[in-house]
């Protein structure tokens, strides 16, 4: 969250993916850095124990949202 918000503030388009167990933390972090509307992309928790193939599927499912956020849209 911290790095994504800072990249964006520095003019570098960013997209941050966070698992849904971290919604309160991510939201508070965005507020803390003065970016309450930062368009965080949330995905189902957890990702740690996904296989390589499952992780790929998850990434593919999120790709369109990442593209939208990187081009200034909402997830």
């Amino acid at each position: 969250m911290h790095d994504g918000i800072h990249a964006e503030k520095a003019g570098v388009p960013s997209a941050t993916i966070c698992t849904d167990r971290f919604v309160p933390t991510a939201t508070a972090m965005a507020r803390m850095w003065g970016a309450p509307d930062y368009p965080t992309i949330f995905t189902q928790h957890p990702v740690e124990n996904l296989t390589r193939q499952q992780l790929r599927q998850r990434a593919e499912a999120l790709a369109a949202q990442v593209a939208r956020v990187l081009t200034g849209g909402l997830p």
Partner: protein, 355 residues
């Protein structure tokens, strides 16, 4: 939502109302706090001879600048006495050293507490317990200094459980975790002296750590150390798991470890701290076969893996050895780090006593 802003001022009429109001404001660790009334905070600042606005350090990732005034207010809430403030200030300064990387241990799922180890003349002056019930209750200085550190993290550092502190299980040391070394009762070099300070200086060492695991053993030095090494080599500690920020070449995260040794110093008359560390360091390790069984290393167990070992602690000096605990028996404790040494390194700072 708790107030995440800079400061909050509250008014109250009586003591009980004040205590309840502190709960409502989200200022407590779950236990009642001493309300941080202005004159009490001022008394602490006067004692330490420090200015409330002086900056102790920053937690840049959370946009927090931690001032002496905030440290003092939390020390009051924790139940400290004014003379404890210099110790709490030194511990705060140490935690805010960049190599400690406070944002990590104060937020991580790993649920670290900040172990505070006090050395030097201040231990006697403030009656900080280094003997029986080392990690247990019953001594004001230990209980309140350690508690102040946690309240500072929560109230001044925004390490609020469920918000920026995302510990999965945490441990009881997160309420308070402060010990001293019984350095006047051993020939061993005090921890702070081994870390570059003079014996007549007082110092505090902070270490982001898991809970202490007690080690019972019979009264022979090698047998005691053999058992300590076995416990320190357990699977499932932060040091014996894989991780994104460890050294990938080693396969594990390699962290620092604190070891406390109780009992009579006489038993160790033929051993220096360096001897103890030299004995322990090569024995704190785990076989490649075990690490693979626990999926710490990803590949299948191969012939010879049971005879190949991975060291869990980077260097002998990364074993923080402390002579402390009751005199009655040879009980030791093993305290693994929260994370790899590259993720958080123990820091020692001088305690600047009243000028």
């Amino acid at each position: 939502m708790k107030d995440l802003g800079d400061t909050t001022t509250a008014r109250w009429d009586g003591a009980l109302e004040a205590i309840e109001r502190c709960y409502e404001l989200g200022w407590t660790d779950g236990l009642p706090v001493v309300p941080p009334v202005d004159h009490r905070v001022a008394q602490f600042l006067d004692y330490a001879g420090r200015d409330a606005d002086e900056v102790v350090g920053e937690l840049p990732e959370r946009r927090r600048r931690i001032t002496v005034g905030k440290v003092a207010a939390n020390a009051v809430m924790a139940g400290c006495l004014p003379e404890h403030l210099p110790v709490v200030l030194a511990a705060t300064e140490a935690m805010l050293d960049p190599v400690f990387n406070l944002v990590g241990p104060s937020s991580s799922l790993g649920g670290a507490a900040i172990l505070v180890i006090v050395n030097g003349p201040v231990v006697q002056q403030l009656n900080i317990n280094a003997r029986g019930n080392l990690f247990g209750p019953g001594n004001r200085a230990n209980a309140t200094i350690g508690r102040a550190v946690r309240l500072i993290l929560m109230n001044a550092g925004a390490a609020i459980p469920g918000l920026f502190d995302r510990s999965v299980i945490g441990h009881p040391g997160k309420y308070t975790y402060c010990i001293a070394e019984a350095e006047t009762e051993t020939h061993w070099t005090p921890l702070h002296v081994g870390r570059g300070f003079r014996p007549e200086q007082s110092a505090v060492t902070v270490f982001a750590a898991e809970a202490p695991r007690q080690v019972r053993s019979v009264g022979q030095p090698e047998a005691i150390l053999y058992a300590i090494a076995d416990v320190a080599s357990s699977l499932g500690t932060s040091m014996s798991t894989s991780g994104s920020v460890g050294d990938p070449a080693g396969g594990v995260r390699q962290g620092q470890i604190a070891v406390t040794i109780a009992g009579s110093s006489q038993l160790w008359r033929d051993w220096s701290k360096a001897d103890v560390r030299a004995y322990l360091h090569p024995r704190i390790r785990r076989s490649v076969a075990d690490l693979k069984q626990a999926l710490v290393l990803a590949s299948p167990v191969a012939p010879g893996d049971a005879q190949r070992y991975v060291s869990l602690v980077p260097e002998p000096e990364d074993i923080l050895l402390v002579f402390a605990g009751g005199e009655e028996a040879n009980m030791s404790s093993v305290i693994p780090s929260w994370g790899p040494k590259v993720g958080s390194t123990a820091v020692t700072r001088e305690i600047r006593l009243r000028p």
